[in-house]
Subunit: 331 residues, 2 copies
């Protein structure tokens, strides 16, 4: 079978099934990060690949921004488990005719965010390559029991942090208008695309107070990542379209596309989590300490109902899940 038929998630499932679970491994392939234990300490390890022409286009991305974002997406994976980031390794495939200044810019972007987030860049590797790519692996500590994708139950509330769709709309505008568009709404959306903020404070606090029962970060689009969470928890979900948190700049620019980017856009790096209904008051009490607004967007339903989107009138309608699959989408 060709990879283009099997798809990214089919491949990961195959790899996961063929991989024996090792000693000290609490959670291997298949969540936002691996969870391993050593002498009663828990560690989280996450990895991300960013490939030129697949994940980024150097037309719309500065090397500084790419360095920044490389770390940000890994921080987001740890945030989604309630972890605390610590050690970063970065490997780069670089065309031999590259200007070294590009690479220095890239590392300036990395170290700017690393120093803010208590991360040490400790190693990596470099190689010649026909196109530019970045492979990162971030290890963190888990001060509290990590939150996986599997703890959601029928009847739970669904919450997200921040606002959705900004990043995808920002990229869309960049592609359509280049640098020509003006105004702070435009700048806001573009910065959400180029300099995403990982929700570390929220993730750690939700782990500490044990309120999030299942959690994932939204990197491939709300519906797709909700699908991953539901599959792992063996539940379905209903999401109210009107409840989606949309920023003012998003509403300004989205036009007829409405909530399209918020549902399927990707690269939000917000957190999506399940809360038991009885914990609503407790969540209310710690809300201000999360460092980011949260919004209830739906609820967990039995698995057989799948994932439904409900419009204003409460009628279900379906939105095709169009998140990222790097193999099914041709280069």
């Amino acid at each position: 079978m060709r990879l283009s038929e099997l798809g990214e998630f089919g491949l990961i499932e195959k790899i996961r099934k063929a991989t024996p679970k090792g000693r000290g491994v609490r959670l291997g392939i298949g969540d936002d990060a691996a969870w391993v234990e050593w002498k009663e300490n828990s560690f989280l390890i996450t990895s991300d690949l960013l490939v030129e022409g697949v994940h980024f286009d150097l037309k719309w991305t500065s090397f500084y921004g790419l360095g920044y974002k490389t770390l940000a997406v890994n921080l987001s994976d740890l945030a989604a488990m309630g972890g605390s980031p610590a050690y970063l390794v970065i490997s780069l495939g670089i065309p031999v005719d590259f200007n070294t200044e590009y690479i220095e810019e890239f590392y300036r972007g990395i170290t700017a965010l690393a120093s803010q987030s208590g991360v040490a860049l400790v190693g990596g590797d470099t190689s010649a390559s026909k196109h530019f790519f970045v492979s990162a692996s971030l290890t963190g500590h888990a001060p509290y029991r990590p939150i996986t994708r599997t703890g959601g139950k029928v009847g739970d509330d669904l919450y997200v942090t921040g606002t959705l769709g900004d990043s995808a709309l920002g990229l869309k505008l960049l592609r359509r208008k280049g640098g020509r568009a003006k105004g702070q709404e435009f700048s806001y959306l573009v910065s959400r695309h180029q300099f995403p903020t990982a929700r570390l404070q929220a993730g750690t606090l939700l782990a500490q107070v044990k309120l999030a029962k299942a959690m994932i970060d939204i990197s491939d689009g709300l519906l797709q990542d909700l699908g991953h969470l539901c599959k792992a928890s063996r539940i379905g979900a209903a999401v109210w379209e009107e409840a989606l948190p949309l920023s003012r700049p998003y509403r300004f620019w989205a036009g007829r596309k409405g909530s399209h980017y918020a549902f399927t856009g990707g690269e939000d790096y917000e957190l999506l989590f399940c809360l038991r209904r009885r914990d609503r008051t407790r969540l209310e009490k710690i809300k201000k300490r999360l460092g980011v607004p949260i919004t209830r967007i739906g609820k967990c339903v039995p698995a057989r109902e799948g994932i439904k989107v409900l419009s204003g009138e409460g009628n279900p309608f379906s939105i095709p899940i169009q998140g990222h699959d790097h193999f099914k989408k041709r280069l």
Copy 2:
């Protein structure tokens, strides 16, 4: 400046200088692995990139062999610090028209060696890519104080494990003769190239008994890696050509090239270490427990003398250091 002028080691030096050393980081960029501490436990983290057309040619490498070797080279980095391997993450860039069977073969190679060496594959990422590449990161424990590259002193003896040059000669023969050559000498050299053995037992024992004062694994060729060790330890070295450990198959096939591949070939994955002269007897006593023969090949001299090769008559001659630099060598 172009990368092709700066070179791989110039680039790594630039990155190292621009990187602040973080909390808990005992050793960052610049050794075989990073060394970090957390609650009095030491961890080692190493990373390697393998890029199609740079590190391997799918004409001479099976996917199974590539998976095996990916882990082997990372094990070797940990062996060189005296570490004990534990958690592996693998990220793959894969052309979309690849047959999924290739990838399954690759993982079979990984898991075969992983289960032998107590390593758990815990995660990674995958992406479409124009050419195939592998990015691995391996985390290990350090049961004893890790051995860095910096502890060599003038007057120390230089030792290597195993035999040198087999891998490079094996690759040379594969390229020249393809699968056509016969005989066990040929098979031996090819297997040394395709299925290298990391010297984990030797590395851990040398760390335990504190006999190796500086250590590195030979991945880029003896002279180049000796150069890295000498630079880190601020010493020079003299190596006796006649002392180099060469296998019988190597002597059979090397012909007029003599010790050429042993000095500059690369991909030996043997260990090179410094021993204080007063420790010779102690080394003699534990030799049998190393799991591999060791050979004294030279001694450490003052830095100003550089790296000298001495022929049988004791006359110094120079061999140009032709190890790997992935940027200086064009694709």
